[in-house]
């Protein structure tokens, strides 16, 4: 039986992610787990997350999962969601600066810096909360059946800025034109919440469940 592990490090809506994954992969065994063995033995790994970068990194170290996440990201279909995308970068500006997992060179930045780009009198609400468009800038199996510019549900105040533009799989505009999805080898990571993005979100999760590297 196909095993999909959802990494549990006490950060956010793991059960929502679990329910959505189970919904699109009814035959799979979906484990919400902090057990390194279960994670490393799974066929696919989902790395969700919500909350502050400091707390996320703290919990990953406390549970001994930092290396496990990196190992999984090197070896099997791996989906980062929201914070699970951000902490793959080198460094986050959140909480006065936090060193992250460093899988990809680049920073995690706050939207407030984007205010300078806006016309006079306009401002961005922070967090960005709601449905925004994801423009596909790289063909990828996870986009299958999803229209370019489809709307997904976002909740975040920080966004990733990878140094290597070749990692970009999707971009979104919110005061700044930012990377809302990235892809490299067996890793796909997305800033929005596919588990809460209705039909297109479920399609993306289904594509992940069927993704063969």
């Amino acid at each position: 039986m196909e095993r999909i592990a959802i990494i549990n490090y006490n950060m956010g809506n793991l059960h929502s992610v679990g329910r959505a994954v189970q919904h699109v992969a009814p035959m799979a065994q979906v484990d919400i787990t902090s057990d390194p063995k279960v994670i490393l033995n799974a066929d696919r790994v989902v790395f969700p997350g919500q909350g502050a970068a400091r707390d996320c990194m703290g919990e990953l170290y406390r549970l001994g999962l930092a290396e496990v996440v990196l190992e999984a990201a090197k070896t099997k279909p791996f989906l980062g969601i929201c914070m699970g995308m951000q902490v793959l970068m080198q460094h986050s500006d959140e909480n006065q600066g936090i060193h992250c997992l460093g899988l990809y060179p680049g920073q995690v930045k706050h939207f407030s810096g984007a205010h300078a780009n806006l016309p006079a009198g306009e401002r961005l609400k922070i967090p960005q909360m709601g449905w925004n468009q994801v423009w596909q800038v790289q063909a990828h199996p996870l986009w299958k059946g999803i229209e370019d510019g489809a709307r997904f549900y976002f909740v975040h105040s920080y966004y990733v800025a990878p140094e290597n533009a070749g990692l970009q799989a999707g971009v979104t505009d919110y005061g700044v034109h930012y990377t809302s999805a990235l892809a490299a080898d067996n890793v796909f990571a997305i800033q929005c919440h596919p588990e809460k993005s209705s039909r297109d979100g479920l399609r993306l999760l289904e594509n992940f469940a069927n993704w063969s590297i």
């Binding site: 956010g12 059960h15 909350g51 609400k125 922070i126 967090p127 909360m129």
Partner: protein, 257 residues
């Protein structure tokens, strides 16, 4: 193009069942929260808010169970309000599948609860509900006060200052209900929304008073709200969410269609 404005239908829940007459063609049981939520999802609702109006706190489990059933079938953001008083109430709802909780009375009586809740669970899931009523005399500058108990009890707290404080304490979003307009079908209190929009920089949901599609559009265009919440206009089949979205998009509002 960018972030869309949101339409949020609000459902009252008593003992795990949706109450206050939801009346759709093609629904077998008008009180079934899963059927109703699925219907709103199909029509294009951007989120759904459930308001727990059960009087006794023993029924938290019933509410959590209901949220779990909905969350297993309907994959859009869900907010639960009503009776959220302790960190444990929040944990239970989030584990059941809620994405946000809305804190109202508990915030008024214990503002630090908002700080604790946002520190612990993150601002992204903490909505503070603000029930405001105009208290200025007609010839005075506009002034709103926070009311509790469905608008019956004043607190003496200035609504704008309160909103600012709640955001400082970590509220990720404000759900603003005009107690003057609630149930009147005469439209949102647009001046209240404008005043709040000047004061705080988190997303604002306008609530209270919707009687027509124009009211929804006005909440965004004139009130500067980021989202509009309504109940009866959708429940009784007066309008579908799809109609509301098409109407708002025609007025130049960015919507998820």
């Amino acid at each position: 193009m960018g972030l869309a404005k949101r339409i949020i239908p609000c459902l009252d829940v008593d003992n795990g069942r949706v109450v206050k007459g939801v009346n759709f063609v093609g629904i077998r049981d008008a009180g079934d929260p899963v059927e109703i939520a699925a219907r709103y999802n199909r029509e294009g609702a951007d989120e759904i808010t459930f308001l727990d109006i059960t009087a006794s706190s023993d029924d938290r489990e019933t509410m959590a169970h209901m949220v779990e059933q909905v969350a297993s079938q309907v994959f859009i953001p869900l907010t639960v309000g009503g009776g959220i008083r302790k960190l444990d109430d929040i944990r239970r709802m989030l584990n059941a599948g809620a994405d946000k909780v809305s804190i109202n009375t508990a915030a008024v009586f214990n503002p630090d609860f908002v700080r604790e809740a946002s520190d612990y669970f993150g601002s992204q899931c903490i909505v503070v509900a603000i029930d405001a009523k105009r208290v200025n005399a007609p010839d005075e500058p506009l002034k709103w006060e926070i009311f509790t108990h469905g608008g019956r009890k004043g607190t003496g707290i200035d609504a704008l200052a309160w909103a600012e404080k709640m955001v400082e304490f970590g509220a990720g979003e404000l759900l603003v209900t005009s107690m003057d307009r609630d149930g009147t079908k005469s439209g949102f209190d647009l001046e209240l929304m404008q005043a709040l929009n000047e004061r705080v920089n988190v997303p604002l949901i306008a609530s209270g008073g919707v009687g027509s599609l124009q009211h929804l559009a006005d909440g965004i265009l004139t009130g500067k709200a980021d989202a509009v919440l309504a109940a009866s206009i959708f429940h009784f089949g007066q309008h579908t969410i799809g109609e509301a979205k098409a109407f708002m998009a025609e007025q130049g509002i960015e919507m998820r269609l």
